[in-house]
C-alpha cells in the first residue's frame, strides 16, 4: 500500500502533510479524551489555584479600600471585581452598559448572608472615549465615594488579522480599545492621587505586549504602549506614594483563549510548563497581590502570568 502511494498518488510533501494532519488529530483527540474522562476541562488543576487564592484572600486586608474596576462587565473585569469584593474592598464597577452593570450586581454581588458584612457594590456607567469623559467619571466617583484607593483597568480586545491587511480605521480602533481609555482614566485620577499622596493603579497589559504574537500586531503594539506608559507614570509619581504596575497574562480560559483554534490551544497548553490553561483565578491572585499594601515597594513592574511559558 505504501508503495502504491509512493509510486502513484502522493508526493513526498503530500505524505508529510498527511502525517502532520494525523499527528494533529491525535493530539486533539488525546486532549478531548482527557477532558471527558477527568470530568472537566484542561483547567483541572485550577482547584489548587482556587484553594491558594482563598488562603491569599484570607490574609489580605482590603477592607474598606475603595476600588474602581474599569471594563467591569467584561469576562476578566467581572472576575477581578468579584475577587476584590471577596477580599473586603468597596468595589465600584465601571462599564458602558447600565443594564449589564445592574445585572452583574444582582447576580454576583448580592448576598443573603446577614453576617457577610460586605460593602455594597456600586456602579458607574459611562464610556471613556476621551479625556473629558474620564474627568467626568473621576469627578462623579470622588463625589460619591470621597476618594479612590485603587484603580484597576481591565480594558482591551484583540482581533486576529495579518499585519498587512489592517486598515487605517482599525489602527485607530485598536488604540481606542486597548490604550486610550487606560491612559485617560489614569490621567483623570492621578491628580487626585497626588493630592492625597496615595494611590495604586493596576493596568492589564498582555504577554503579547512583552514578547509579541503573530497576527496580533496592533494588539501587541498597544499592549506594549500600556507597559511603557505605566512604567513612565510609575517613575513620575513614585515620590507621591503612587504605585503603578501591569499584569501581562497569557490568554485566559473564558476570555481571549476562546478565540483561539483548538489546535493552537492544545499546543499552548502542551508548551506551558505548568501544564494547564491560564484561568481567571490566576489573574485575580496577581491583582490581589499588587493591591495589597504589603507590596508597597513594588512599582513599575510587569507581573508575568504565563505558567512559566515566558521567563524572560
Amino acid at each position: 500500500m505504501f508503495l502504491s502511494i509512493k509510486n502513484s498518488v502522493l508526493s513526498n510533501d503530500a505524505v508529510k502533510t498527511l502525517i502532520h494532519r494525523i499527528w494533529r488529530f491525535t493530539v486533539l483527540a488525546k486532549s478531548m479524551l482527557k477532558r471527558l474522562f477527568r470530568g472537566g476541562s484542561s483547567t483541572e488543576n485550577s482547584s489548587n489555584s482556587n484553594e491558594s487564592l482563598s488562603a491569599l484572600t484570607a490574609n489580605m486586608n482590603l477592607t474598606d479600600k475603595r476600588v474602581l474596576v474599569s471594563g467591569a462587565t467584561g469576562f476578566l473585569g467581572s472576575h477581578i471585581a468579584q475577587a476584590l469584593y471577596d477580599a473586603g474592598a468597596k468595589v465600584t464597577l465601571l462599564g458602558r452598559n447600565e443594564e449589564k452593570l445592574q445585572d452583574m450586581v444582582k447576580s454576583k454581588f448580592t448576598s443573603d448572608d446577614p453576617l457577610a458584612k460586605k460593602a455594597p457594590v456600586t456602579t458607574l456607567c459611562g464610556s471613556v472615549n476621551n479625556q473629558d469623559d474620564a474627568q467626568k467619571i473621576a469627578q462623579r466617583y470622588v463625589e460619591e465615594h470621597g476618594a479612590l484607593d485603587l484603580l484597576v483597568n481591565c480594558i482591551g480586545s484583540a482581533e486576529d488579522k495579518p499585519f498587512v491587511f489592517h486598515t487605517a480605521n482599525e489602527i485607530g480602533e485598536s488604540m481606542a480599545s486597548n490604550l486610550n481609555p487606560i491612559v485617560y482614566l489614569c490621567e483623570a485620577f492621578l491628580p487626585k492621587f497626588v493630592e492625597r499622596k496615595s494611590g495604586n493603579i493596576i493596568n492589564f497589559s498582555s504577554i503579547t505586549g512583552l514578547v509579541g504574537q503573530p497576527m496580533r500586531s496592533l494588539y501587541g503594539a498597544n499592549k506594549g504602549a500600556v507597559i511603557a506608559y505605566s512604567k513612565s507614570i510609575a517613575r513620575r509619581y513614585a515620590a507621591d506614594n503612587i504605585r503603578v504596575n501591569c499584569i501581562a497574562p497569557q490568554v485566559v480560559t473564558g476570555g481571549l483563549a476562546e478565540k483561539m483554534s483548538d489546535d493552537v490551544r492544545v499546543l499552548l497548553q502542551e508548551t506551558t510548563p505548568i501544564k494547564r490553561d491560564c484561568v481567571a483565578k490566576d489573574l485575580e491572585g496577581a491583582v490581589l497581590m499588587l493591591a495589597n499594601e504589603q507590596q508597597g515597594f513594588v512599582s513599575g513592574s510587569v507581573v508575568n502570568v504565563t505558567g512559566g511559558l515566558v521567563t524572560w
Binding site: 489592517h166 489602527i171 488604540m175 509579541g212 503573530p214 497576527m215 503594539a221 504602549a225 507614570i233
Partner: protein
C-alpha cells in the same frame, strides 16, 4: 528624498556582494547624518509622512521612488521621532496615534516588498531607548517607543516565515537623529556611578545596522540597547 552611497569600492567589508538595498525613513534628519547612517548600504532617505498628509499620494510617490532607486528593497530603517517639546508633560495620545498610525501604513506597504524580495530582509526601528523602562518626563515618547517594541516583536513572529526580521535599536542620546533627553536625577547618578556612558552616534548605529543585516534572521524580535549601559 536623497540618494545615498552608491560607491561600492569603499563599501564596508562586512556587506555581501550586492550591498543591502536600504530605505531610511525619518523626520528632519540632516544629509550628513543620513549619509553616515547609510554607510556601506545602497539606498535612499525618505521623510516619514507628516501630520495630515494624504497617505495614498505619499505611498504612491514612495513606491515610484523605490522602483527607480531601490528596486530590490531588503532593509527598512525607521528613525522614530520624539514628541515635540510641550507634548511630554502629559501623554499626548493624538500625537502617538498619528505618528504610530502613519508609520504602520508605510510599513504595511514596505512589508509586502520585503516579503516578496526572496532574500533575508530587515525592519529596524531606531528609537528612544526608554520605551523599555518608561521615562518620568518623556511619557509621550516612551509610550510611542513601547508601542513600537510591541509591534516589532509581533512582526518578528509574523513575518519570520517570509525571512523578514524585525528589531529595535534603542538609543539613549543621538543628536544627529534628534533623539536626546535629560535623564532624571536618579538615573543620572546611577549612570555616573557605573562609569560607562558612551552615547551612541550615527556611525555606531550604522555599525549596529550592519550587525543586524549580517545576522540574517539569527537576531530578530530584539531590542539592541545602545544606551551606554543605562538599562543594564
Amino acid at each position: 528624498m536623497v540618494e545615498l552611497n552608491v560607491n561600492t569600492e569603499n563599501q564596508d567589508a562586512r556587506t555581501t556582494e550586492r550591498p543591502p538595498q536600504l530605505l531610511i525613513l525619518g523626520t528632519g534628519i540632516t544629509q550628513a547624518a543620513q549619509e553616515s547612517l547609510s554607510a556601506g548600504f545602497h539606498g535612499i532617505y525618505y521623510e516619514l509622512p507628516h501630520a495630515g498628509e494624504n497617505m495614498r499620494a505619499y505611498l504612491k510617490a514612495l513606491n515610484a521612488q523605490l522602483k527607480q532607486s531601490v528596486p530590490i528593497l531588503n532593509t527598512v530603517v525607521v528613525v522614530v521621532p520624539m514628541a515635540p517639546q510641550g507634548h511630554e508633560e502629559q501623554v499626548d495620545l493624538q500625537w502617538v496615534e498619528e505618528t504610530f498610525g502613519r508609520t504602520i501604513l508605510v510599513l504595511q506597504r514596505l512589508s509586502q516588498n520585503l516579503m516578496s524580495s526572496k532574500t533575508p530582509s530587515q525592519i529596524i526601528f531606531v528609537q528612544f531607548a526608554m520605551g523599555e523602562s518608561g521615562h518620568p518626563n518623556l511619557i509621550t515618547s516612551s509610550t510611542l517607543s513601547g508601542a513600537n517594541i510591541g509591534l516589532v516583536k509581533c512582526l518578528a513572529k509574523e513575518l519570520g516565515r517570509y525571512a523578514v526580521s524585525a528589531n529595535v535599536i534603542g538609543v539613549s542620546d543621538c543628536d544627529e537623529l534628534n533623539i536626546s533627553f535629560d535623564m532624571d536625577d536618579a538615573y543620572q547618578k546611577l549612570f555616573d556611578l557605573s562609569g560607562l556612558g558612551n552615547n551612541a552616534n550615527v556611525e555606531k548605529i550604522n555599525s549596529a545596522m550592519h550587525h543586524l543585516v549580517m545576522s540574517e534572521m539569527s537576531v530578530t524580535g530584539q531590542v539592541l540597547r545602545m544606551d551606554g549601559g543605562i538599562l543594564m
